[in-house]
Symmetry: C2
């Protein structure tokens, strides 16, 4: 096989109380990447979308992942990739992670799966470093592995899959810009011990709720007393959206990644759709354009959809 087509899902990182450690994969939106093995050590990038992303390998998220794979294996291998991006860059639902994860999974597949899944994650993290300056894995890991991923530690890398019940996810992407660097800078370096304790009670509750299929516990634990109160001021309408979504039956939710997208988890499809309507109403009133998704947790992660 010399060519592979992969579907790379969007992801929600910073899962409310799970800042920097918990992320989940979505069914929609998802990018499509077609990757071809070359017999010369170069990377060729074609973008089939309107986002004007760079095509120089060193400046492209997928490009740097291919380069890091090539650096590892040496020899004359290269990659040609055609990217059809459906996850809007800057949306907060893992657009760069999808490119990075797709590149790493496709490269490994074409090379005969010579790398472990931890190594694949490591390659993909190089793409995240280019995109955000930080080698984080809370979008990369769920994008590659599917479901809900806990990044217990980055050094050394320790990724744990958290089983969960089927959960519906409603996402709204208000068409405003929140720069990841701004979202990082606004955070305080120190937090109150009492808030940290409350947060780790919630994260323990959330993980237990997922593993016990206890929807009420999931809902009670979806509380972030540290990051959300600071970052939500960058997203107009956030408090109103959250309150009304919970009134409409959502278990809870919060900022997706570093925003501006907001996500909500629901127990069933009809609630997830009611939550979508509530989100739309709020942004219609405020007068900010948006895009919404009603989807589910994607338990597969990056998927090989064709190979030839």
């Amino acid at each position: 096989m010399s060519t592979v087509k992969v579907k790379c899902p969007g992801t929600v990182a910073n899962l409310v109380c799970g800042f920097d450690i918990l992320g989940l994969a979505l069914h929609e939106p998802a990018d499509i990447m077609e990757v071809k093995l070359l017999d010369e050590p170069r990377v060729i990038i074609h973008n089939r979308d309107a986002y004007n992303l760079p095509t120089e390998p060193e400046k492209n998220v997928a490009g740097v992942v291919f380069l890091s794979v090539m650096e590892r294996i040496g020899g004359h291998t290269g990659f040609e990739v055609t990217i059809e991006k459906h996850i809007k860059p800057g949306s907060g639902i893992g657009s760069s992670a999808a490119s990075a994860a797709g590149a790493a999974v496709a490269a490994n597949h074409l090379l005969g799966n010579i790398f472990t899944s931890d190594e694949v994650v490591q390659f993909a993290m190089n793409g995240e470093k280019l995109a955000s300056g930080v080698k984080h894995a809370d979008n990369i890991a769920p994008c590659i592995l599917g479901g809900i991923s806990l990044i217990r530690s980055i050094h050394p890398l320790d990724i744990v899959s958290i089983p969960s019940p089927d959960l519906y996810v409603t996402v709204i992407h208000p068409q405003i810009e929140v720069r990841t660097s701004d979202a990082r800078q606004i955070l305080k370096q120190q937090v109150l011990l009492k808030d940290a304790i409350r947060q780790w009670g919630n994260i323990a509750g959330l993980v237990t709720g997922f593993m016990k299929n206890d929807y009420d516990l999931i809902g009670r634990s979806l509380e972030d007393v540290i990051i959300e109160p600071v970052r939500s001021i960058l997203i107009p309408g956030f408090d109103e959206v959250k309150r009304k979504c919970k009134e409409a039956g959502a278990l809870g939710g919060g900022i997706s990644g570093s925003g501006p997208s907001i996500f909500m988890l629901s127990k069933d499809d009809s609630t997830a759709k009611a939550v979508e309507s509530v989100m739309q109403e709020v942004y219609n009133k405020i007068g900010i354009d948006y895009h919404t998704y009603v989807t589910m947790i994607n338990k597969k992660g990056v998927e090989i959809v064709a190979g030839y």
Copy 2:
């Protein structure tokens, strides 16, 4: 039934990264309490041990729990209790919680189980308030419910039982005094966000490890970067004990409650015994007296051993 005898187990609170939110119950040591229903509204306390604990109800941990139950139910009911304490006060393995939990469970049993388990915990928390000034539940909850308890929140009270594999627990109680108030005061009110993130990664890993029966994950997650580095200086030999216990095969462990006891979790009985020897060697060398226990997680909690 007018008299009940209960066995009230010792407990380990502040389970490493689970400061203030996670505790577990032990098989040994355990107190025995015999509680008799009176038809007059008074509390009579007999101590059958050498600890010289107060017998005035308002100053006794079990006493204030009985008083709070009597205040709730009104009428002419009272309680007479005989306490055989085997869990040394000030050891850090839940001596006051055992008295408080035993009183609450026994009273509820004698009254025909009219209270929910959350209410029983609430009554017992009055005893903890007398003992430590704080209404915490991370000893009370596992003492009453058995196993491992997560206190997700105190206000409102939200207690979650965490399933776990069988685990052996080795405890050493060095005969030194660490006052709970000192152990509290020494803590910083603020912590670094990056440390808090590491801690909530560990707590999520620990809970997942318990629920997946993943001993390696439990071991990797038994790391406390916030409380232990500060409090362990109050316990001579702590670092050496911890290092040598892990070398001897313990999964990990730390300070029990606010000390001075140290506990270690192991996968099997022989490791737990090897860990005990290592602990004893360190304190023999330092020249501090100690008491050790090799026991298991107690999945039952306070147990009714007789009623007549």
